[in-house]
């Protein structure tokens, strides 16, 4: 049966209606929670006071050998977590994708495991590993691996399932096995996306590694946390500047290589 035709004017009325309902819900929630949405613009004193204590930044702290070591720790934790995480995610994705794994039971099992990894919040994950292996960069790296596998396992599964089926059909039609189909029809289609997503994973992992460092994962995040704890705000501001520059550099380099691999139009 054909769906009923909806005229443009009726569609416009629907949109206005949905917008009105959304606004009403937001206002109702604000009133119920006694929350003033303009409060954020009302009082800048704490931020002003903090900025006053942070300026001028003490850049001399950046030349301390402990900071260099902390950067290396964060960088290597993010790199190794990306390497192991993407590798595990890549293998698990083939076990979850419907066009590569015929057994529904295995697909559900591995897919469920990936969902479970995604459900665990990063902070809970780092806390578990801190209890298990102690404070430091190693627990940060393990937490990052779990986060990477959960996030990119699902993404790689989608990439595999979205490959063109026609090439696989042609390869099956010449009597090839499933493994041969994966190697000759699916891998050539997914490798560029896989490499580009690994670069993106590293980009994401650097940021997460810094955040996890604050919660005991070691590295530059932990150095920043310690500077804030002992009220060395000028040192902390210098570290924040360093972190921003580091992330920008990594992001731009990652974008450059991803553009090279995927082409400009497919970036993000």
């Amino acid at each position: 049966m054909n769906e009923q035709l909806i005229l443009p004017s009726a569609k416009y009325k629907h949109k206005v209606g949905y917008l009105g309902i959304s606004l009403f819900v937001v206002v109702a929630v604000c009133i119920y929670l006694k929350y003033n949405p303009f409060l954020i613009f009302a009082d800048f004193t704490p931020i002003q006071r903090l900025l006053g204590e942070m300026l001028p930044p003490n850049f001399s702290v950046l030349w301390q050998p402990t900071i260099g070591k902390a950067i290396a720790q964060t960088g290597s934790a993010a790199f190794l977590a990306t390497f192991y995480g993407c590798l595990i995610a890549f293998v698990l994705a083939f076990l979850t994708a419907a066009n590569t794994m015929p057994l529904r039971f295995i697909r559900l099992l591995v897919g469920g495991f990936l969902s479970l990894l995604r459900i665990v919040p990063p902070l809970v994950c780092i806390l578990i590993f801190i209890i298990a292996v102690g404070l430091g960069a190693f627990s940060g790296m393990l937490a990052l691996i779990v986060i990477t596998v959960g996030m990119f396992g699902r993404l790689f599964t989608d990439i595999i399932e979205n490959t063109e089926h026609s090439a696989a059909d042609a390869i099956y039609s010449v009597g090839a096995s499933r493994l041969q189909v994966i190697r000759y029809a699916i891998l050539p289609q997914i490798i560029p996306s896989f490499i580009a997503n690994c670069l993106y994973a590293f980009d994401v992992n650097i940021r997460v590694a810094i955040s996890l460092g604050i919660f005991g994962g070691g590295g530059i995040g932990y150095a920043l946390y310690m500077a804030m704890q002992v009220l060395h705000y000028q040192d902390a501001f210098a570290l924040i500047c360093l972190i921003i520059i580091m992330i920008l550099l990594i992001e731009k380099t990652s974008d450059y290589f991803r553009t090279m691999i995927l082409g400009k139009e497919k970036l993000r």
Binding site: A170, V174, G175, L179, Q180, Y184, P188
Partner: protein, 262 residues
């Protein structure tokens, strides 16, 4: 030789989509299957390479060594072996876009090499040379190093034919190979397929009676799941009307017949 006997397929709703289809195709024959949409042409083709299992009937393929196998009866592992002997040319070319033209041709022999070698080594230099020769036959050897994504429809179909040639099959199936092509490219493709039938039986589904009249050695017409014509490829107006129905007849009231061979 290909021998199809009494193929029958009934859908769950009780509709008989294949009703006792039987025909033989020998070496040297290029058989074109014609018929209106929904007649059962594609279903027949799917039965020929084991993609669809009929409710009854048999599809027996006998190769040059005299080895016979019934595609409808064999199990999955044996079916893979039989498929190594069946070349298929698809309507949508079915090439691996990111792979080179040469790699796409070599894929034709993938079923014939061990999985271990194909995963960890790939094809040998000798196989690559043979694949280039297959490309020479379809005049595509000058593009063997380029990726297929930049090729035109006609060029892609020529690569698909080279893939089938390189496979050295005992039977060639062509599922609407010229439906996506302009008339001049369609002629090129038909001219390339026809000589292949000198060594192996070739069966193709077509929607162009003028093409089957010119290039096929025999035409089989299917309507409502039954063969209603099997014989000379040159069809008369009345035969075309019988195959395609009154709609074609009504069209011909207004314009000069272009399809029929008088």
């Amino acid at each position: 030789m290909l021998e199809v006997s009494n193929l029958t397929k009934v859908l769950p709703n009780g509709r008989k989509v294949l009703d006792g289809i039987s025909f033989k195709v020998k070496k040297g024959e290029f058989v074109g299957i014609l018929g209106p949409s929904g007649a059962g042409k594609s279903l027949t083709m799917r039965c020929l390479n084991g993609l669809l299992k009929p409710d009854s009937g048999s599809v027996v393929l006998t190769d040059d060594q005299g080895f016979s196998s019934d595609i409808c009866q064999i199990k999955k592992r044996e079916l893979r072996k039989v498929r190594q002997k069946i070349g298929v040319i698809f309507q949508g070319y079915h090439l691996v876009k990111r792979a080179s033209v040469l790699e796409n041709v070599m894929i034709g022999r993938l079923g014939q090499i061990s999985t271990f070698r194909s995963l960890f080594y790939g094809f040998t230099d000798k196989e690559a040379e043979e694949a280039v020769k297959a490309l020479e036959q379809v005049k595509m050897d000058h593009l063997s190093g380029t990726t297929t994504s930049g090729l035109s429809g006609g060029e892609m179909q020529r690569v698909a034919i080279a893939r089938a040639i390189f496979q050295s099959p005992a039977l060639l199936l062509a599922d609407e190979p010229i439906s996506n092509l302009d008339p001049s490219n369609a002629k090129v493709i038909m001219k390339l397929i026809r000589p292949l039938s000198e060594n192996i039986p070739v069966v193709g589904v077509f929607h162009q009676p003028e093409m089957t009249a010119k290039y096929c050695t025999r035409v089989i017409a299917i309507k409502d799941g039954k063969i209603i014509y099997d014989g000379d490829p040159k069809l008369t107006n009345d035969q075309l009307v019988e195959i395609y129905g009154e709609e074609l007849h009504q069209l011909e009231q207004h314009e000069q017949p272009v399809l029929a061979i008088q």
